[in-house]
């Protein structure tokens, strides 16, 4: 029996190294075998295993296993496995190595028992994942990746500042409940918030994810934001501010998603909406709400992965991702369309699909805790998510008007990965007890009672009816080639243009000042010249006659002095 203390990230970093020096079938086998073995190992690791090290007087815990971290550990293994299978056809070492390091870093972060270890993996997440954006190898993806990296690293730097403050204040680096009691709490909260796509801090996701490679976006959607959700669940459960932040996150992105043309950007917005449910659950903080939040994170990784995979397959096969350019693909990609619709049903929380069994916990908790307005916002967001992710994504890609594109089903590995994800969506939806047994609390919650099922089904079917009605009346906004302004406008347009305008002003003022001072200088030179040129005061010649007269005066004075002594 091998030791249980093997940190979960180690096999991933090891196989990432092996992936550099191998290729083809050997690399594929190694990657899949390692992830499966590491997952099996984790399954056997009992809750409560810890690894502690002393570092500069602080007790660090690079590996801590408890129910909360185990849940994320399992789902990260599932996501990594699905993602690796989905990208088996890719002949790009950089992407495959980056994806493995990225998945390993996510595992490192969720099993980190202290803030310093968390910080290290936090930054590794940023550094490894950006290559999945850059791997697209276009100027646009390079720029988007750069913006993504800057924001992610900034989040890490804020985390570092917060943890130093925290260590100074509390004398401990343990990654436990922190709360918003002081500057340390707020700094760490902000760092987590950036990665969790808090409103106004969210645009890195909608900016970078659509620019990533078809396979890269699948990995990206799984790890970064869910590590942030885990961290919030660990350090800020029951923080009331999170209820309102979460409710805002569920609502505002759906408006953008409705008018967005790039379908992977629609998914990025819908991801923020789903994280909103999790953040809200963490904020409510009851056992049911926390269970709902983390189980929704678990499900979201799988169904959002499935949706990103189906869109990745479309992008891979057609080279297009805009709703306005797609349509009618169910004719040539029926399997992909069906799998996409399973993902769509799951994210919309249809009964019997995975989203339903987790989202309903957050909704119930909001209602039970008396957050009526929040509950209404969540309900609105639930209808909205069905609208933009459940209907819009499959409708504009696979149905709607026939774009005339004829292609084939994606490679078999892509179909296999999507099928695994779809099967999990259905399995969890039909048999939620399996997922519930992994949750941190035992609440005895049952999603399948007449109340929940009927309410949710009514909500969804009448949302679908609204879609049909709007479409038939011609009120539905058409998909248009466009860019919609969002908070990113501040740093992509206002700040650059402000800086440009500022520098232009500075240069202009500088030029004016120089000109004025040069003018002054030249006029001074002119004055000097006037003094010294012929006719100038300094250069005037004194006539010789004057000199003779003065010499005569001098002699006369001398004479007078001499004569006065003689007497």
């Amino acid at each position: 029996m091998w030791p249980a203390e093997i940190p979960a990230f180690l096999p991933f970093f090891l196989v990432a190294f092996l992936a550099v020096i191998t290729k083809g079938t050997l690399r594929a086998t190694l990657m899949i075998a390692t992830i499966v073995a590491s997952g099996a190992h984790l399954w056997l690791v009992p809750d409560g295993v810890q690894l502690t090290v002393n570092f500069l007087g602080y007790e660090l815990m690079p590996y801590r296993v408890d129910k909360l971290s185990l849940l994320f550990g399992y789902v990260f293994h599932i996501a990594a496995l699905i993602g690796v299978i989905f990208s088996l056809h890719v002949r790009d070492t950089m992407q495959q190595v980056a994806a493995l390091i990225y998945a390993g870093s996510a595992l490192g972060a969720v099993f980190a028992g202290d803030l310093l270890t968390l910080f290290v993996f936090w930054e590794l997440l940023a550094l490894s994942s950006v290559f999945l954006v850059w791997a697209r190898r276009t100027e646009k993806s390079y720029q988007a990746g750069l913006r993504y990296l800057i924001i992610q690293v900034l989040s890490g730097v804020i985390l570092l500042a917060g943890l130093i403050y925290h260590a100074d204040k509390t004398g401990s680096l343990a990654f436990e409940y922190i709360g918003l009691s002081g500057m340390n709490g707020w700094l760490i909260f902000l760092a987590f918030g950036i990665k969790a796509c808090f409103p106004l801090l969210h645009n890195w996701a909608t900016d970078a994810y659509p620019e990533a490679t078809p396979t890269g976006a699948v990995f990206l959607s799984a790890f970064t934001t869910k590590v942030a959700v885990y961290s919030l669940a660990r350090a800020y459960p029951g923080t009331e501010l999170l209820v309102f932040i979460g409710a805002t996150m569920t609502c505002f992105p759906i408006f953008f998603a409705v008018i967005e043309n790039d379908l992977r950007r629609v998914l990025a917005y819908s991801m923020i909406n789903q994280i909103g449910f999790m953040v809200c659950g963490i904020g409510i903080g009851t056992a049911l709400a926390i269970n709902g939040a983390v189980s929704h994170a678990f499900n979201d990784i799988i169904f959002k992965g499935l949706l990103f995979m189906s869109m990745g397959a479309v992008l891979h096969m057609t080279g297009r991702m805009n709703g306005s350019d797609l349509g009618g693909l169910y004719k040539s990609m029926p399997k992909t369309a069906a799998l996409c619709m399973i993902g769509a049903a799951s994210i919309s929380a249809f009964p019997l699909f995975s989203g339903f069994v987790s989202k309903s916990m957050v909704m119930s908790a909001a209602l039970e805790e008396g957050h009526t307005w929040v509950w209404l916002m969540l309900l609105f967001a639930s209808a909205g998510v069905f609208h933009h992710a459940g209907i819009k994504i499959p409708y504009f890609a696979f149905f709607a008007h026939d774009s005339g594109i004829r292609t084939t089903e994606p490679p078999r590995n892509m179909l296999l990965a999507m099928s695994i994800a779809a099967a999990l969506c259905l399995l969890i939806g039909i048999h939620p007890a399996w997922l519930y047994s992994l949750l941190p609390f035992d609440t005895g919650y049952n999603p399948y009672d007449a109340t929940h099922v009927l309410a949710q089904t009514q909500l969804l079917f009448f949302s679908a009816l609204a879609f049909v009605w709007l479409n038939l009346r011609g009120l539905y906004p058409p998909e248009l080639h466009s860019v919609n302004l969002d908070a990113e406008w501040l740093y992509r347009r206002l700040v650059p243009q402000g800086l440009r305008a500022g520098f232009t002003w500075l240069w202009r003022t500088d030029a004016t000042l120089r000109k004025a001072s040069m003018k002054k200088l030249y006029s001074f030179f002119d004055y000097l010249v006037q003094l010294h040129y012929p006719g100038g005061k300094v250069s005037r010649l004194r006539p010789t006659g004057n000199m003779v007269m003065w010499v005569a005066v001098l002699l006369a004075v001398y004479m007078w002095l001499l004569l006065s002594f003689v007497e």
Binding site: R137, V258, G384, T451, L454, F461, L465, A466, S482
Partner: protein, 98 residues
């Protein structure tokens, strides 16, 4: 490939069929409200067809507001690219199956 094959939604009759199925489901779900007794936590849940009306109205408002947002948020597709990109760019990059 399969140019002349008739597909399911190529027939307008099938589209109508799907729509009627949806209308039928909505009607049944609305009626079920009267039959099934629901456990209510909030008084609003007891309003007639609360979830159905909320879903429908919510979505219509969502779409109309989003459409209105286009008036002041929408810019042409090259809005950022014009200034940020130096060279040409194409969707898909290296990763388009040929």
């Amino acid at each position: 490939m399969a140019k002349n094959t008739q597909h399911f939604f190529d027939k307008p009759g099938n589209v109508t069929l799907v729509l009627y199925a949806l209308y039928g489901c909505c009607a049944i779900l609305f009626i079920l409200d009267f039959i099934i007794h629901r456990h209510k936590v909030h008084p609003w849940e007891g309003l007639l067809g609360f979830y159905a009306v909320y879903g429908f109205v919510g979505c219509v408002v969502l779409v109309l507001v989003a459409k209105w947002m286009r008036l002041f948020l929408m810019r042409d597709e090259t809005y950022y690219d014009r200034e940020e990109l130096k060279g040409d760019d194409q969707q898909g990059g290296d990763h388009v199956a040929s």
